[in-house]
């Protein structure tokens, strides 16, 4: 596989950052976009745009078909059973909020428990916290060990007759831990507890098969999957989408509206109120095609190679401490350098055109658990090369120089 050909599909890499070639190591935050996605956005607005699902004219039919094409692609991408199980949202955050809000209406009473983990991003904690405030729910955190793996036995112990839902990430955006979702779902099944999976980090980097995982809900942010911002996906088993109430009310999600009665549209429209980010959804189809053109197996193989190379090289730099050492790890590496704060690291490497993230990465629970206030994070995308890692390591050596570390 020729990465330079893949990289050349991303226009941003022809730009200079601080006079240097861009070394983009912040894909966990958001990925860059290939030309095909940008062209699709532009093409759709120029040639095929109109509002979907409402009008009868030719353009509306065309636009609706394109929008629905993406739904079918997403269904195939994550191997859902049917198109009706794919709901478009604003992002994974909205997907999780949708589930937390609608699920809670009938299924969460005072004293009921929601089980999440210490690995979670704030977006898979705060929506549940609302239920603590509004419904008197109790949130429990399945602990992790120092390697960054969820202690499954402890998770099991935390399940009680009051546990109403388990919400867990598929891939940690700090430690890169790949969570054994199947194992957790099997545990939950025995107690008849639904499982929501935050698939934000996993979707662009590992194979997703929601039928095989057997999870009830799966949330994706398309901008992390080489797609446009403003689009997210919620996969949910049909039985849930049929049973749960609608989330937002408005146009497009109704069947019949009368003064004393409203009935809702069938799936998936029931959950897509108002005008959706139509062009972005249409363009996201190209992101999936982009990933499929490379092949998920090839993506995994390449990113593994770059991740291992980065780990090896980073460990050789004096006073670099890598956060966590999970059993199965994807291309997310958080680290600290003794004597230099992560924000200072980020500012200094930025001077060399290297984009990394510094801070708590929206995971304050995890950082507290690991006794850290902030970390620097390198995250790998399909376009990253060993040369990128070499530039990063040289820039990190420069940090040590600026701070006069030995």
């Amino acid at each position: 596989m020729d990465i330079s050909t893949i990289k050349s599909q991303f226009p941003i890499f022809s730009k200079k950052i601080n006079g240097k070639s861009l070394v983009y190591l912040d894909s966990s935050n958001s990925s860059q976009k290939p030309k095909s996605v940008l062209n699709a956005l532009d093409y759709f607005y120029r040639n095929e745009f109109s509002n979907i699902g409402r009008s009868i004219h030719s353009l509306a039919v065309k636009a609706t078909n394109k929008y629905e094409d993406t739904r079918l692609s997403v269904k195939n991408f994550i191997n859902a059973k049917s198109k009706e199980e794919i709901i478009f949202t604003k992002n994974a955050t909205e997907s999780i909020n949708l589930v937390a809000t609608t699920f809670a209406q009938k299924n969460i009473q005072k004293g009921d428990e929601i089980l999440i983990t210490e690995l979670e991003h704030h977006s898979n904690y705060v929506p549940w916290h609302y239920l603590r405030e509004t419904k008197g729910a109790i949130i429990k955190f399945a602990p992790i060990n120092d390697d960054g793996d969820i202690i499954i036995d402890k998770l099991k112990e935390l399940i009680t007759s009051k546990t109403k839902i388990i919400a867990v990430t598929h891939l940690s955006n700090v430690t890169g831990t790949i969570v054994p979702i199947k194992e957790i779902v099997e545990i939950a099944r025995k107690k008849n507890i639904p499982v929501l999976v935050d698939g934000c980090q996993s979707a662009p980097h590992i194979k997703i098969d929601v039928q095989d995982l057997d999870c009830d809900f799966y949330a994706i942010s398309c901008h992390k999957v080489y797609g446009p911002t403003g689009v997210g996906v919620l996969y949910a088993k049909k039985k849930w989408l049929e049973k749960l109430p609608p989330y937002m009310g408005g146009g497009g999600m109704i069947s019949e509206v009368q003064k004393d009665k409203i009935t809702y549209a069938p799936l998936p429209e029931k959950y897509e109120a108002g005008t959706m980010p139509t062009a972005e959804v249409v363009a996201f189809n190209e992101s999936i095609k982009f990933m499929q053109s490379i092949g998920i197996e090839n993506i995994i193989k390449h990113e593994k190679e770059i991740t291992n190379y980065a780990l090896e090289k980073l460990k050789k730099i004096n006073s670099v401490n890598i956060v966590g050492n999970p059993k199965k790890k994807a291309g997310v590496i958080s680290f600290t350098i003794k004597g230099i704060h992560p924000h200072d690291i980020s500012t200094i490497v930025d001077e060399e055109g290297v984009a990394i993230r510094a801070g708590h990465h929206c995971c304050q629970i995890l950082h507290s658990r690991l006794n850290l206030t902030a970390t620097a994070r390198v995250s790998i995308g399909i376009y990253n090369t060993k040369e990128d890692i070499d530039v990063l390591c040289k820039a990190l050596e420069n940090c040590r120089k600026v701070f006069e570390l030995k």
């Binding site: 200072d344 801070g359 902030a374």
Partner: protein, 156 residues
């Protein structure tokens, strides 16, 4: 942009070994500051005497080189000064960081001026301005006896 402008020797030195670190005895005012974006924390302890002079001022906290150095330099600049002058220096510092105009800092001696001016390079780095201003907002909050924690996302 030039890294040397940001990471001057004075800043690196104060960042590495901030002065007046710890909780001073018999403080009369205190305030906490927090930058939710990066997790920087600062807790200032201020002791005002009967004449309303800064008799002692210390801090406890953690953060990047810029925030630690800025806190350390701030304390050195205002210690021994009256509350009124302290407030004026805080005002001038915030103005220096946010605007391009030259500030005279008439109430400071030459050494203090050099140190405080060394922080002016931060304005070239908009994402780092809050690192430099956190302690100053927090000290102001201590003087004003504000009850709420300073949050950089709310004040700047």
């Amino acid at each position: 942009m030039d890294l040397k402008q940001l990471y001057q020797d004075i800043i690196l030195e104060h960042g590495k070994s901030p002065r007046n670190f710890g909780k001073c005895e018999k403080y009369t005012h205190q305030a906490k500051g927090y930058n939710p974006l990066c997790g920087d924390k600062v807790h200032v302890y201020l002791k005002l005497n009967n004449e309303k002079n800064v008799e002692d001022l210390t801090f406890v906290g953690s953060g990047c080189a810029i925030s630690m150095a800025s806190t350390s330099i701030m304390i050195e600049s205002v210690k021994g000064k009256s509350v009124e002058v302290t407030k004026k220096i805080i005002f001038e510092f915030l103005k220096m960081i946010k605007n391009t105009e030259e500030i005279n800092f008439k109430d400071l001696d030459d050494d203090q001026k050099t140190k405080i001016m060394s922080l002016s390079g931060v304005k070239q780095y908009p994402m780092r301005v809050k690192c430099a201003t956190l302690a100053w907002h927090t000290l102001n909050s201590a003087i004003e006896e504000k009850k709420e924690k300073v949050n950089t996302e709310v004040i700047d």
